[in-house]
Symmetry: C2
Subunit: 186 residues, 2 copies
DNA sequence: CCATCGAGTGAGTGAGTGCTCACTCTTCGT
DNA sequence: ACGAAGAGTGAGCACTCACTCACTCGATGG
C-alpha cells in the first residue's frame, strides 16, 4: 500500500482547509434556519466531517457563529471597495456602483439572511453586536471617503439598504402590491 | 375549609385573562433571547402558570409566536393611526407625527427587538412572514392615505425606520462615533 | 522503518425542550 | 345541593443539542 505515485494527492485535508469549508457551509446552513435553529450536527454533516471534529476546529458554537458573521461582513466590505475602485477608474458614480454591488450581493439569499440573523442575534451575543458595529463603522468610513457625499445622502444610502434587507427577508415581491413595489426600489 | 366569606373574590382567572398575560410576558421574554432562544418553560414561569397550562392556552409554540408578532404589529399600527389623527386635529405634519410615534415605540426595547426577531424568523416561519407582509401593507396604506406624500418620501420614511431598528439592535449609540450619530438620526 | 504528530471519529453524556396525560380543584347555573 | 364545565398542575415521555473522550489512522522527517 505504498502511496508511491501521486505525490501531491492528499487524502486528509489540513485543519485550515476544513475550517474554510465549515465556514462556507455553515453560513449557508445558518442563513436558512438561523443561528439557534441550526444544529451543529447539520453543519458537520454538510461539511463532510464528524461533529466531534467540528468542535476541534471551532471550540464552541458561538465562535463559529462569530466567524461566519465576520466573513459575511468582510465580503460586503470587499464588494463595496471593489465597486468604488472600479467606478473611480471608469469615471462613473461610486455611490451608484456601491448600491448596485449591494443589490447584487442581496440576490444571494445566504448573504441576505446572514445580515438579518446577525442583527437579531446581536441582542443575545455581545460579540456579534460588536462585530456588527465595527463593520458598520468601516463601511461608513469607506462610503464617506469614496463618495464625499453629505451625511444626509449617506444616511439615505444605508437606510435603503436596511429596508431592502427586510423586504427580502419577509419575502415581499412586486406581486404583493404597490407597497412592495415602492419599498423595494433602491 | 368553607370559602364562606368573600363571594365575589375569584381565585382563578379566565382563560382569556391568562392568554393576555402570556402574550405580554411572552413578548418581553422573546424580545430578549429570540423566539427559538426562549424556552416555553421560562414564559410559563414568568406568567405564573404551569407549562402544561401554557400549552392549553396556545397549542403550539409557533402559535404563541405568531400571536405575539400580530400583537406587536397591531400596536405599531394603532400608534401610527393615533399620531396621524392627532396631527390632523392639531394641523401639524402627520408624517412627522408618525415618525415621532415610531421613535417613541422604539425606546421600548421589547417592541424594537420583536420587530427585528420577526424579520429574522420570517425565513423559517411562513406564518410570520405572511403577518409581516400584511402589516407592512396596512401601514403603507395608512401612511399614504394620511400624508399624500410622493412614493419617494414614503420610501424614505420606511427606510429610515428600518435603519433605526438595526442601529438599536446592534447597540449603536452616539458614543460609538460619527457614523452612529449620522445613521441614528430620523 | 519507525517515531511523532496532526487529522479524524464512534459513542456517548447531561442538560434541556416541546408537548402530553391523567388528574384535582373552582366556579356557577340550576 | 349537585353536577357539568372550566381552570390548573405534577410528572414525565420522546427527543434534541452542544459538547467530550478515548481512540484510530494517515502523513512526514530522520
Amino acid at each position: 500500500m505504498t502511496p508511491a505515485a501521486s505525490p501531491t494527492k492528499r487524502t486528509l485535508s489540513t485543519a485550515e482547509e476544513r475550517r474554510e469549508t465549515v465556514l462556507e457551509v455553515g453560513m449557508s446552513a445558518f442563513a436558512e434556519r438561523g443561528f439557534l435553529g441550526t444544529p451543529t450536527t447539520e453543519i458537520a454533516k454538510a461539511a463532510g466531517i464528524s461533529q466531534a471534529y467540528l468542535f476541534r476546529l471551532f471550540p464552541t458554537k458561538t465562535e463559529l457563529i462569530v466567524a461566519v458573521v465576520e466573513r459575511a461582513n468582510q465580503r460586503i466590505y470587499e464588494a463595496f471597495e471593489a465597486a468604488a475602485k472600479r467606478a473611480h477608474a471608469e469615471g462613473t458614480d461610486p455611490l451608484e456602483a456601491m448600491a448596485n454591488a449591494y443589490s447584487a450581493l442581496l440576490t444571494d439569499r445566504v448573504m441576505l439572511m446572514t445580515q438579518v440573523h446577525q442583527h437579531a442575534a446581536a441582542a443575545s451575543l455581545p460579540e456579534v453586536a460588536e462585530a456588527s458595529r465595527r463593520w458598520f463603522a468601516d463601511l461608513y468610513a469607506l462610503v464617506q471617503r469614496e463618495t464625499e457625499l453629505t451625511t444626509d445622502d449617506i444616511h439615505r444610502f444605508f437606510a435603503t439598504g436596511m429596508l431592502l434587507n427586510v423586504m427580502a427577508a419577509i419575502g415581499a415581491t412586486d406581486e404583493h402590491g404597490p407597497w412592495a413595489q415602492t419599498l423595494r426600489v433602491c
